[in-house]
């Protein structure tokens, strides 16, 4: 029997390593015929740690939320006696989280051991590159990608074949392929999952791209915040070199390709291609004017193509199964599948891969199970700091590049942060502006100073100091920042503000004119009170960190509003629903 434990960052964070150690210990103690192995993240992060047990007949039993204390029972009953512990296995409902998806990019994540190249090969790995270098010309490869309709998964949705073709046609022998693995959108983690769970699919995708454009060197620019991803990539590269699928004269074709990793150092602006190149060259990551585009003059002034992790991880599947098979999924203009990182106020958070064009409702309710604690769905934020908030009224919007862009948000890298009635939309706008203001490289005045001014206005609105004309001022600044910025960061930074004004203008007006936060989240605009439902249990006064609550035992307590810091601990601690927020 085989015991496979999911050890992506999310699994490890919930204690998967301790669970694995417990399995190993008990299996050794009882001298059982079972091996313990690892895999990446299967995507159901809310169920971690996840343990898959394959019987000798190949039957799979999946256990969820397995903490070390649960291991003994599974070992005793399943491994020793061969009786699966049904009550600890994944429920039918949770099983559907995965079954309702269509997995191309995540096809191996949570299935194979990412640290063992043999398992990738057994799953048809490195067959696409073999086919490509032994039987296809570079133009044929580019044509296949064109047929597939694959577009960049990093944010802009630019046709992938076009970039490859441009780099191929650029004169020169020395060309570079760069993989952008600097997943900067706070709230997206699909690239991390692919890097940790299926690094070989990225390597294979890069080799194919290198072959198509005539590059012999690839560079992976990976976030330093993802140490496990870098570690697994290094293992994968060593194994690939040993197997002869990376390095010199691949499959006897005479084509050489090698890859190295460069760890990024934390700068959101490096998602912009020219800034990323500057960073690769050891400089401050500041964008420059285009043209020349990187396809003509990129890394060390040589023709360079930059693709994101998810884009490249699609490539081996496309070449192996044919561009038409990929193109058959999705919509007319947005082909294939897309991975979304579902998080926020959602019941089942994790990674979801679905065909493009599926309505938002099917993702959020059908797969994600709806809103946490059955609160009311308010909006979903897509595209991170460059995107926007899509309100509940547009929940039937199909998720593809065109339709999402129409709402004012963008598909972006695929972050989907779900918000409920307790999320203040003005505060969300403030949050994103705080982010872009910090991350602006400072080159363009409008981006550097404009985002700061917008942030100041949003701060004063959330602090109850909003003024008449603030909304109009925000709108005016937004247009100027978009027009006056060189790169995507500045050009999209106002989007979170514009979309929240567009769909939630009433919340802005309530903050400014009525000094009221409908979501009851902006501290300056709320007030805690104790009603006569109070039994005088004194718990809240003990929990209050500033001693603002007083009262006799068994008598109604009161909050001293001058002392109250609005931390909400009293509300959380009260067992009698006697505390109100207004």
């Amino acid at each position: 029997m085989k015991v496979i434990i999911g050890q992506g960052s999310c699994g490890v964070a919930t204690g998967a390593k301790k669970t694995a150690a417990e399995f190993e210990k008990l299996i050794a103690e009882k001298n059982l015929d079972a091996v313990v192995d690892i895999t990446g993240c299967v995507g159901t992060c809310y169920l971690e740690p996840i343990v898959d047990i394959y019987g000798d007949d190949g039957a799979l039993t999946r256990y969820v939320k397995v903490q070390p204390e649960n291991v003994a029972e599974i070992v005793e009953r399943h491994l020793a006696k061969g009786e699966p512990v049904k009550e600890m296995a994944i429920s039918q409902e949770d099983q559907q989280f995965i079954e309702k998806q269509q997995r191309v990019v995540l096809r191996n994540c949570g299935v194979i051991n990412p640290e063992n190249i043999e398992e990738y090969i057994a799953a048809d790995g490195y067959k696409a590159i073999e086919k490509v270098v032994t039987s296809m010309t570079a133009d044929e490869v580019i044509e296949e990608i064109k047929i597939s309709g694959l577009r960049g998964r990093g944010g802009a949705g630019f046709p992938t074949w076009f970039k490859w073709d441009a780099a191929k046609k650029s004169p020169g022998n020395e060309k570079y392929l760069v993989c952008n693995a600097d997943e900067g959108d706070p709230g997206a983690f699909m690239d991390r999952s692919v890097l940790e769970g299926d690094p070989h699919s990225l390597l294979e995708g890069m080799i194919i791209a290198g072959y198509a454009m005539g590059a012999n060197e690839g560079v992976i620019y990976c976030r330093a915040e993802y140490p496990l991803a870098i570690h697994r990539l290094e293992i994968a590269m060593d194994q690939a070199r040993e197997k002869g699928v990376l390095g010199k004269n691949l499959f006897g074709s005479g084509f050489d390709f090698d890859i190295r990793i460069k760890a990024g150092a934390g700068a959101f602006v490096c998602g912009e291609e020219t800034a990323l190149i500057a960073s690769l060259e050891g400089e401050r990551g500041m964008p420059r004017l285009k043209p020349p585009f990187p396809a003509a003059k990129g890394y060390w002034q040589k023709p360079t193509d930059i693709n994101n992790v998810e884009t490249l991880a699609n490539v081996p599947w496309i070449l192996y199964n044919g561009g038409a098979a990929f193109g058959a999924m999705g919509t007319e203009k947005s082909k294939g599948t897309k991975v979304f990182a579902l998080a926020g106020k959602i019941k089942k958070g994790g990674l979801v891969e679905v065909p493009m064009g599926l309505p938002l409702r099917d993702v959020i309710y059908g797969i994600g199970g709806g809103i946490k604690n059955d609160k009311e769905f308010k909006a979903v934020q897509m595209g991170g700091p460059s995107g926007g908030c899509i309100p509940a009224s547009l929940i039937d919007t199909p998720v593809d590049y065109e339709n999402i862009t129409k709402t004012g948000a963008i598909v972006g890298s695929g972050g989907m942060i779900v918000m409920d009635e307790t999320t203040c939309m003005v505060d969300m706008a403030r949050y994103f502006l705080d982010f872009t203001r910090k991350e602006s490289c400072g080159k363009c005045n409008y981006c550097r100073i404009g985002t700061k001014r917008m942030l100041e206005i949003l701060e004063r609105i959330t602090e109850g100091e909003g003024r008449d004309g603030d909304i109009e001022l925000l709108e005016e600044l937004a247009v100027k920042i978009k027009d006056g910025s060189l790169c995507g960061l500045g050009q999209t930074a106002p989007n979170p503000v514009l979309t929240t004004i567009k769909y939630f203008r009433n919340e802005y007006e309530d903050h400014i004119y009525k000094k009221k936060c409908t979501a009851k989240s902006c501290k300056a605009l709320i007030k805690y009170d104790i009603t006569d439902a109070c039994k005088g249990c004194t718990l809240c006064s003990k929990k209050c960190p500033v001693g603002a609550i007083s009262g006799e035992v068994k008598g109604q307590h009161v909050i001293d509003q001058d002392k109250c810091v609005k931390c909400g601990r009293c509300l959380e601690s009260c067992k009698f629903n006697a505390i109100t927020v207004e």
Partner: protein
């Protein structure tokens, strides 16, 4: 290494023996400055002005330029850090799930603000953009010589328990 100091007359007394092999490997490879700074920070925990001057001498890159690169990226620190580095995730999912209240709780418990170190030199708090564990929000990672440990689904109280446990262990 040479004992030559910078132009202000300040001399370096630290021997950068651990950094020397890194520079032997990367000093003359174009575009390696960020890699060198990362390795230097891994070794010493932060980038001191002496370290920057030392790197400058080995690479021929001006200290001002190294300083410019070091201050551009959020990863680099110019001040020493505590034994345990708390990286509190301020990503969107964590924000929506109350990362600000977790920060308040940490600040209250340790009596420091973002970027500061406790007086006993045990903890440094750093807010970070995103740790990529969004479905476990709110999340923090604690980095130390013992390794990196990630804690998810934090609450105002559980975060204090985690820190108390570390403090006891240390």
């Amino acid at each position: 290494m040479s004992e030559k100091g910078c132009c202000c007359g300040h001399t370096m007394d630290q021997q950068f023996t651990e950094l020397a092999p890194v520079l032997d490997k990367y000093a003359k490879v174009p575009g390696s400055l960020i890699t060198i700074l990362q390795k230097a920070q891994d070794i010493y925990g932060y980038l001191s002005f002496d370290a920057i001057n030392y790197i400058s001498q080995a690479t021929g890159i001006k200290p001002a330029k190294i300083y410019g690169v070091a201050t551009f990226y959020s990863q680099f620190r110019l001040k020493p850090i505590g034994k345990y580095l708390i990286m509190l995730c301020k990503g969107t999912a964590c924000h929506v799930n109350g990362a600000d209240t977790i920060e308040e709780s940490i600040c209250e418990y340790l009596n420091i603000q973002d970027g500061e170190t406790t007086e006993d030199g045990l903890f440094t708090l750093n807010n970070v953009a995103c740790l990529g564990c969004c479905s476990l929000a709110p999340v923090m990672m604690v980095k130390s010589a013992e390794g990196d440990e990630t804690y998810g689904n934090l609450t105002k109280d559980s975060v204090k328990e985690v820190l108390a446990e570390i403090r006891e262990r240390a």
